[in-house]
Amino acid sequence: MNNFQPDERGYWGEFGGRFVPETLMSPLEELTTAYFAVRDDRDFQAEFLHLLQDFSGRPTPLFHAKRLSETLGGAQIYLKREDLGHTGSHKINNAIGQILLARRMGKKRIIAETGAGQHGVATATVCALFGLECVVYMGTEDMRRQALNVFRMQLLGAEVRGVDSGAKTLKDAINEALRDWVTNVDSTYYLLGSALGPHPYPLMVRDFQSIIGREARQQILEKEGRLPEMLVACVGGGSNAIGLFHPFLNDESVRMIGVEAGGKGNNLGEHAARFNKAGGGKIGVLQGTKSWLLQDENGQIALTHSISAGLDYASVGPEHAFLQSIGRIEYALADDVEALAAFQTLSKTEGIIPALESSHAIAHVLKIAPEMSPAQTIIVNLSGRGDKDVNQVQEMLAGK
């Protein structure tokens, strides 16, 4: 049995590591020590579980989407309802875990980056819960697309700082958060929101998100009496996907598919499909970690595109890169049009409006479920709810 742990330098195979300015190395070492101290600490884990239950409402249900399954005429589709957790996405799991760690480390100021705003909202929420100062960096293009989440963060008492560099999206927000951290290392805890960045973040975020897969595994065994044939999740940085997949990695019969954003075309700049070599994906180093990366021939990081702000990112978590390299996880694409169609299909068929990010996973299920038998099951991670996207979708459907 493989426990899929990184080595002590934070590498899974050739992916991961720590590529940061020297100033951040001592804080990262401090964070690693602090994290490993709580990882097996009963009191910490009990407090984490308590908040997941009483504050966030876990366990989230595993819902059998019968009408969708019947309509497609293939596999039975189960939705892992992360959209029902507090703040409306899986991001709260990691935010709760890391805020408890930040408190143990005595940090008073919390910074975070956000793409779609879901991680920013989750971070602002846990900061409000514990009365901690909160600064969230967000690309100005994402602020425009996700205006509702900006207001939610402000309501929760966070300061949202717009980032105007690059494409003004998630990658640029991470750059600015790293610059803040390097300047304020003593006082500040960087609450990174995806399974990305320098060690120990990819490991720590995955651990906190693995609650999704642990619950789902138990729930499907209770409901179906056996493991599913397939797991499907969207992959931006990759935290909801790794959270669902990880507890199933040793279940060899379970296929896992990560769905990247195909955007509006296959040329560099038109998508966020990092594993797509023809589209400009290549192994490289960005924001502290070695992984697959969309870049030009000179090693400059490419602009990306997706209708979904949460998937609009040039790199992918290093553990995903490793699991792709050994063939354990397959990666597929759903483009903007397919995701938008899936957004509407799930809304009408099941009465559930999914986030545009999660709609990419649904889109892939719409393609693959009909090819499977009704005796087979798929669990798809419904990583977030779509309320935040309703205005944007309305504009797109109106052809604006």
Binding site: R9, G17, R18, F19, V20, P21, E22, T23, L24, M25, S26, P27, E29, S165, G166, K171, N175, L178, R179, V182, T183, N184, V185, D186, K282, G284, V285, L286, Q287, G288, L293, Q295, E297, N298, G299, Q300, I301
Partner: protein
């Protein structure tokens, strides 16, 4: 060793002077002008020239150098193109040490061995990779050493003594001490952390120590020389370049001369 960096620091020591290391971003406002600037800065007394490789995601840089990198990237720019201008200044007889200041990805994509060979052929003397810490540097260090190129390591006020020992074990040429926790950018005063860091580094290395981040005036250079072997001035010069040529397509005729004058004024008079 024949390396120009070592020779330069031996010479500075013999003359009992501190070193002056100006920084510019290659390709801002364009590569031809960068070549002229290298020659001009050498002429004005630069001990070593630090040539920035522009990168799309410069997390260690403040707003000034970010903006300069963005200007440079408006034109296609490659590591190969940057090495060509270094080769060209060497052909013109300039013997001032040149080091590249880069993020890791552009070098990784160029190929580590390819880079070391081509950089040596071009007449580059060393490289500083801002996001390559000792734990990740072993392979690149040995490739560079085979080509007699220095790997300039950064040390920060947050580095523990254990880390400083690791950093110095990997360093060659000189050690770059970062004056404060933060990104690059001009300040009027140097942090008090700086002297402390330089003194701590002396316990771990006999290499020369240059101080950078936040040094922007001649007075700060003088102050730095009291305890460090050289001072790096980056953002102040880069800001002056952007002020003199706000549009990279309309570079004033006297631009290079005026930047030379500006940099020359940062060098304390003997």
């Amino acid at each position: 060793m024949e390396n120009r960096i070592n020779k330069k620091f031996i010479q500075l020591k013999a003359e009992n002077r501190g070193g002056f290391i100006p920084f510019i971003v290659a390709g801002d406002p364009n590569l031809e002008t960068t070549e002229d600037l290298i020659l001009e800065l050498a002429e004005k007394g630069a001990s070593v020239i630090e040539l920035g490789v522009p990168f799309s995601d410069p997390v260690a840089d403040g707003v000034t150098i970010q903006a300069s990198a963005e200007r440079a990237l408006q034109n296609p720019i490659s590591v190969k193109g940057i090495l060509e201008i270094v080769a060209s200044v060497r052909k013109k007889g300039c013997e001032t040490p040149v080091i590249l200041f880069s993020y890791f990805n552009p070098i990784l994509q160029f190929g580590l061995e390819n880079f070391a060979e081509k950089a040596k052929d071009a007449g580059v003397d060393g490289i500083l990779v801002t996001d390559l810490v000792p734990e990740e540097a072993a392979e690149f260090r040995s490739i560079l050493a085979e080509n007699d190129l220095a790997l300039i390591m950064l040390a920060a006020p947050t580095s523990s003594d254990e880390r400083l020992a690791k950093i110095c074990a990997h360093a060659s040429g000189f050690v770059y001490a970062v004056s404060r926790a933060g990104v690059t950018g001009a300040r009027n005063e140097t942090s008090s952390d700086a002297e402390n860091l330089v003194q701590r580094l002396r316990n771990h290395t006999n290499l020369p120590i240059a101080l950078g981040f936040g040094i922007s005036t001649s007075a700060q250079v003088t102050e730095t020389w009291k305890y460090a072997d050289a001072a790096v001035v980056g953002s102040a010069i880069v800001a002056e370049m952007m002020r003199l040529s706000p549009d990279i397509k309309e570079v004033p005729g006297d631009f290079v001369e005026r930047i030379g004058e500006f940099a020359g004024n940062l060098l304390p008079k003997a």
